[in-house]
């Protein structure tokens, strides 16, 4: 009897130790089978009770059942603890850091002037303007004379020109395309002319020897300064994504009359944005179209010229025009 009691105690201590050291639920399950399974020592003791005396039966039976209950509680507790531990481990394993920097995706870059040019074309095309181009090497007639800028006239000083040994010059604006287009097309006309232009000047943060200009021309019946105002306000609104405050100041360009300069308010300052005006009658004549006649008839229209670098500098906050032509990938790869 003492033996049985001692062996029950031994069993209890052994089982306790093993339960405490179980690593996981699977492990615990095996231990359970060892101590509480059908083939376990305890099951055998309980089964052998029927062969014992009534007194012994009562005593050992009680002790064995107490151990059984004790072990059951112990197993339940251990199982709960192990389950919690397993869940924690699983959670740790699945933990994911979304703040790790993304892996670099490779893409190329378009030049900022290309981006600004596309936007400009898109806005004007939406208003019915066709996009037209012309040669970069130009004849003096188209670049100057036809635009009402005669030879030896101080007005020519407004355009510092590169002359070429082949007798041509590098166009100083895309305005010559006005003439080339009007020679071949009858009004009503609505065109813009983006393109590369050249000026012979010292380069600095706001001057380059080549740059991009967009010339605009609209010719039709009764086209007015008021019409130009509406078109250009719409352009700025669409280009910058919000209505912009603009103002017209008198200015002088030989190919327009009246002529004006358009300023735009930006950060509380007026920025010169473009030159514009109503097409000069001499320009119509030089392009073979009749200008307004005193007895009625003839054409009228507006023209303007805007620099793409200027637009890009404002849009992208670039402070030095030379960056556009410097070929520095640290700059170009930002677009």
């Amino acid at each position: 009897m003492a033996k049985t009691k001692g062996s029950l105690n031994l069993l209890k201590n052994k089982a306790k130790k093993e339960i405490d050291s179980a690593k996981d639920l699977k492990d615990l399950d095996l231990i359970y089978k060892t101590y509480l399974g059908d083939e376990s020592e305890l099951a055998q003791i309980l089964r052998s009770l029927k062969d014992l005396s009534k007194k012994k039966k009562a005593k050992i039976g009680k002790e064995a059942n107490e151990l059984k209950n004790f072990l059951k509680i112990k197993f339940t507790e251990a199982a709960a603890a192990l389950k919690e531990k397993a869940e924690k481990e699983k959670e740790m394993k699945e933990w994911f850091d979304i703040t790790v920097p993304g892996k670099k995706a490779v893409s190329g870059h378009l030049h900022p002037i290309t981006l600004v040019r596309r936007k400009t074309e898109e806005v004007f095309q939406s208003m019915g303007f066709s996009v037209i181009e012309g040669p970069e090497m130009e004849e003096e007639w188209y670049n100057f004379d036809a635009l009402n800028i005669p030879k030896n006239h101080p007005a020519r000083d407004l355009w510092d020109t590169f002359y070429l040994k082949n007798g041509l010059l590098l166009r100083t604006h895309t305005s010559p395309v006005q003439i080339r287009y009007m020679e071949k097309n009858q009004p009503p006309l609505r065109i813009i002319v983006p393109g590369r232009c050249f000026r012979h000047e010292a380069t600095d943060f706001s001057h380059e020897i080549n740059f991009y200009h967009v010339e605009g021309l609209m010719v039709g019946e009764g086209i007015s300064v008021a019409n130009f105002k509406a078109i250009i306000e719409e352009f700025f609104r669409k280009f910058f994504g919000k209505p912009m405050e603009i103002r017209f100041r008198p200015s002088y360009f030989p190919f327009v009359e009246p002529g004006f300069e358009i300023d735009m308010k930006w950060n509380n300052e007026w920025l010169e944005m473009m030159g514009a005006g109503m097409v000069h009658p001499n320009v119509f004549k030089n392009a073979g179209l009749p200008p307004h006649q005193i007895n009625g008839g003839g054409w009228q229209g507006f023209a303007f010229g805007i620099g793409l670098e200027r637009l890009a500098m404002i849009k992208y906050k670039v402070e030095d025009i030379r960056l556009f032509y410097g070929g520095d990938l640290k700059f170009l790869n930002q677009f």
Partner: protein, 658 residues
């Protein structure tokens, strides 16, 4: 140009707006005022007078006239009303004789003689006015002439009569070899293109540009000849450029001045001199003026003005604006005005000029924004731009960065700039490659790999064309060839093939390529460009395509090829070929023998090594078999594959590895 606020105020009884307010008004209605600065008791306005208005507005009177129109002010009765008192006993013609050799170069020459003057310092008020305007005081006579120039815009010059040889003034071109020392002691060699004022023997002034030292006014001067002339603007402009000499006078003359101004100005100056330097104004204005200029008349159609500006301006406002600017109007009751243009308004010659005057003074801010009522004509597509945008997007997708380089280069080109900005930019680029190479050089230290391209004009003789060019570092020939294939595929251009590079003598940039590793890209029999390694740096590969040809070959049309529902079978095949055999030859044999059930042949390995005899190379292919209408049986595939092997082995030097 610098203007004095107090001086402008002196034309009016009414008070002008504060300097910054006046500046704002001028900016919005006349000319941009760049700066307003207080100096002593006066303010300086730096006004950017527009070049077409130099004739009347390089003067305080001109700006005052603008102010009068803007503010609706009347000129003070006292302004400009001076009384000329001549000494009837003395006759100008007895003192000096004037001869103008060329009427076209000098449309008017007026002179006055003032006797018994006393040259000396100027009164303070005069010194102050000149100083505010940035001129140094010299003496009362010179200062008076300068003062009248600043007031009226007419340059004047004073000679010491005693110092003129034979008391003669001749307006003529200089003779070769003649020299002159100017008032500021510079010596100039003259030639027959320079107009001068000469005495009987020698030049005493460079006409319209600068006075000479010789007949300078000094304390001993007793009798002066005052000149107020009109010179041809282009002669003065060219002369000033040639001598590299500019002055307040040349600036005004080269912009053209009204010849009628000469008389008003000389009388003002004579009166002022007689007041501050004493002396008697000798009677008689010497006046060479063979062809008097009269006011022009222009018709102004008010309906047109309204149509052009897009706003209706009241008739009375139109009349007010024009009269305050000095225009005279007739036919006030009709819708078409007859407008007489004052001769000082050299810029006004057509009615649009008048409409501008009315519009700007009325205020451009009062013109509403009104959308045109134009017909709904959709814009035309520009094919050049359409394809340029597509090509640029393709290169961006392939990881290229777009560059914009100068159209100029220092390397020899066919088109040379007459007046280059520097030696670095002497020629127009005949190729985009040299500047792209500069981009590579600039960036190669900071990047492992560089892929850049540019779409731009190149120049030859009198023609220009658009090229599409790129340079790549860190990729070999075949990678770039793959990029070309993708480009042509996306542009819908089939029949692209690569031919051996053949340098031709007229190929100016032949020297750029390592021709052993370069190919000519052809579409059918059209040459569209080059591809290859660059000669000077084997790490760099480049392509150079004629964009004008690309855009005509490109097509938007694309046809869907049905995807077979039946599985494909892949068989590998390896061939040993002599070292100089081209892959293309092998591919051609496979494709021909394979027929339509071979849908793709993919070269996956080229191996050449010591263990293969005779330096032969092993080419390994995946051959993909597929039919549109059925699953191919292994027997079918086997038969075709055997056909291919047989065809390959017909070449005795090729050996299919089994």
């Amino acid at each position: 140009m610098i203007f004095s606020y107090n001086w402008l105020q002196s034309f009016f009884n009414r008070k002008l707006p504060k300097p910054d307010k006046l500046a704002e008004l001028l900016t919005m209605r006349s000319f941009e005022v760049e700066e307003v600065k207080k100096t002593g008791s006066d303010w300086v306005l730096n006004i950017d007078v527009l070049p077409n208005r130099a004739g009347d507005c390089f003067s305080h009177l001109g700006i005052a006239r603008e102010a009068a129109a803007l503010l609706n002010f009347n000129f003070a009765a006292s302004a400009g009303k001076l009384k000329l008192i001549e000494d009837k006993n003395l006759k100008a013609k007895d003192f000096v004789s004037i001869e103008v050799k060329s009427q076209s170069c000098c449309p008017r020459y007026t002179a006055r003689v003032i006797a018994d003057v006393k040259a000396g310092p100027s009164p303070k008020w005069l010194k102050d006015r000149l100083e505010v305007c940035g001129l140094n005081s010299i003496n009362n006579i010179v200062d008076a002439a300068n003062y009248v120039m600043l007031e009226t815009g007419q340059p004047l010059h004073a000679f010491d009569l005693e110092k003129l040889e034979d008391k003669k003034i001749i307006v003529r071109f200089a003779k070769e070899g003649e020299k002159i020392t100017t008032l500021d002691n510079q010596v100039f060699n003259l030639d027959s293109k320079i107009l001068v004022i000469a005495d009987a023997k020698k030049p005493v002034a460079i006409a319209g540009i600068k006075g000479g030292k010789l007949p300078e006014i000094d304390e001993s001067t007793k009798t002066i000849v005052l000149e107020s002339a009109n010179f041809d603007s282009s002669i003065i402009r060219k002369g000033s450029k040639e001598l590299n000499l500019k002055s307040d006078a040349s600036l005004r003359f080269e912009h053209k001045i009204d010849p009628n101004l000469a008389e008003t100005a000389i009388n003002k100056a004579a009166i002022l001199i007689s007041q501050i330097a004493g002396g008697k104004i000798v009677s008689g204005l010497i006046d060479f003026y063979p062809q008097k200029v009269y006011p022009k008349k222009i018709k102004l159609d008010l309906n047109y003005a309204e149509s052009l500006l897009g706003v209706k301006i009241p008739v009375m406002a139109v009349k007010d604006i024009l009269s305050r600017l000095g225009f005279k109007i007739k036919n006030l009751k009709l819708k078409i005005f007859d407008v007489e243009v004052p001769t000082f308004r050299l810029d006004v010659s057509v009615q649009e000029d008048l409409i501008e005057e009315v519009g700007r003074i009325y205020g451009y801010d009062k013109i509403p924004a009104v959308f045109p009522t134009a017909s709904l004509i959709p814009p035309q597509r520009n094919d050049n731009i359409f394809w340029a945008d597509i090509v640029k997007d393709i290169f961006r997708e392939m990881g290229f960065t777009e560059a914009y380089n100068y159209s100029f280069q220092k390397e020899l080109g066919e088109v040379e700039v007459e007046n280059p900005q520097s030696q670095e930019y002497r020629y127009l680029r005949p190729s985009l490659i040299p500047n792209l190479l500069r981009n590579i050089e600039k960036n190669i230290g900071s990047f492992n790999q560089i892929k850049i391209f540019e779409l731009g004009k190149v120049f030859r003789d009198k023609t220009e064309k658009t090229m599409l060019t790129g340079v790549v570092s860190g990729e070999d020939f075949y990678r770039l060839k793959g990029i070309m294939d993708l480009l042509f595929d996306k542009l819908g251009i089939a029949k692209v093939w690569y031919d051996d590079y053949q340098a031709t003598p007229e190929d100016s940039h032949a020297s750029l390529w390592n021709f052993k590793k370069s190919a000519e890209i052809k579409v059918g029999d059209i040459e569209v460009g080059f591809l290859g390694e660059l000669k000077n740096d084997p790490r760099l590969t480049a392509f150079d395509l004629d964009f004008e040809k690309l855009k005509t070959l490109a097509t938007e049309e694309k046809e869907y090829r049905p995807i077979s529902k039946y599985p494909a079978t892949i068989r590998d095949l390896a061939v040993l070929v002599p070292p100089l055999t081209r892959v293309e030859e092998v591919l051609n044999v496979i494709e021909t023998a394979g027929g339509s059930l071979v849908i793709d042949v993919d070269l996956f390995d080229i191996y050449q090594g010591d263990e293969i005899a005779d330096g032969k190379k092993n080419l390994a292919f995946h051959i993909i078999y597929q039919a549109q209408d059925r699953t191919l049986t292994s027997i079918e595939v086997y038969k075709i594959h055997q056909n291919i092997i047989k065809a390959l082995e017909e070449n005795p030097t090729w050996q299919v590895r089994k």
